[in-house]
Amino acid sequence: MGDTRLPENWERDFDLYDPRYLEDPFTIWDDMRRSGCPAAHTDRWGGAVLPSRREDIERVARDPQTFTSRAVEATGRVPAPGNELKIPPITSDPPEHDDERRLLLPLFTKPRIRELEGVTRETAERLADGLVGREVVDVADEFARHIPVKVIATMLGVPEEDSSRFDSWVVKFLKIGPRDQAVRVEAIKEITAYFHELLADRRAHEAPGMLNYLLDKSEGGTKLTDDQLVGMCFLLLVAGIDTTWSTIGSSLWHLATHPEDRARLVAEPELLDTAIEEFLRAYAPITIARTATEPVELGGCPMSTGDRVLLPWAAANRDPESFERADEVLIDREENRHLAFGLGIHRCIGSNLARMEIRVALRAWLDRFPDFALDPDHTVTWTGGNVRGPESLHLRLDASEAVA
């Protein structure tokens, strides 16, 4: 009813990389929900169905039988069964999924995450201190992206002398890979080879990081193959880095473009945790994917066996059926049953870690830079596909307000 603002032919031929969708998927999802077609279909980028309503997204997430996790990438041809990049447990279904997940859960509890808070804070504060006195900084490249890289490298036990190689692979796989298949394939080979080397070294020598824990548990109980162990390391890299840097980036973008919220957070630092939940709701970075194991209908859209369905968690989070003033970012929102970390058996295992990193990063930033805005000489562009966040985020820092 009324003017649709959807890009042309969106319902049957949507483009996940449409510039309008990258910049503002929120309006598009709103229009999809209001139209007669809350789920769109496409053959582009390997084909997919894109639901916009929370109820449809939840339904898929809760049904691993009908919607397998064997392939979770948002683009590329859906691989034939057996040909997928295996990064357990995200790419596993029950029953294998359950033991694999149980192995990792103890590493991500709140007490374990508290142990990582020191290195997180040291990293964030060092980076922020280094920017004091600058007029314009790219906070995505010069601050946000380095924090989860350091934290995940620490968790994995990547030795300090390997950290710049690790960093360059991260950039290759997470920043360039999504748009360049050749680079992606090369990065997978290099990272996989590295983790196999690291694993072999850890068998011979105990060292900090989770690999010795996994080796002990694996030899004692559930026998895991080297490929499964390497896959889990790969998962941490894939799931724990650009997701978190994207959320830090989106949060800083929001604060840069909403001075009243920024001022309020500076005046009321105790509001930070509540504000972070709202940033997670509004800017949830992940669109994960599932594959249909049988013909099924979703939101009026018929799917065949082997078809991909995308789960844009931020769309579920903006559904007015679920949230009052769903399209407004309210940093004091108390009732916030959001799905930024997913739902059900694949709930993001790193959610405590992510929250801690975001909190530490924003605290370190705001303590030094209470006043900042977008630099008018640069445009913010947004990544797409599986993860949405600012590709670069140039901010003009108010030097008179900065405290070292």
Partner: protein
């Protein structure tokens, strides 16, 4: 007021632990459990309500 968790639904989001740390505790896998018999002490009703309304799995129930 009494609070309960359906352990078959808990997926370890830990929102309840953040919002009402005196009413919930976690196990070694990060799943949440109620402290004691779930009787909500006076003054903690709001915390219990927030825990209930923020659980993505709707695993928490409150009763008068």
């Amino acid at each position: 007021m009494k609070v309960q968790i359906d352990s078959t639904l808990c997926q370890g989001h830990n929102r309840c632990l953040d919002l009402a740390p005196d009413l919930f505790e976690d196990d070694e896998l990060g799943y949440a459990h109620i402290v004691g018999d779930g009787e909500v002490p006076p003054g903690m009703e709001r915390a219990a309500e927030l825990a209930e309304s923020n659980c993505p799995e709707m695993a928490i129930t409150l009763s008068p």
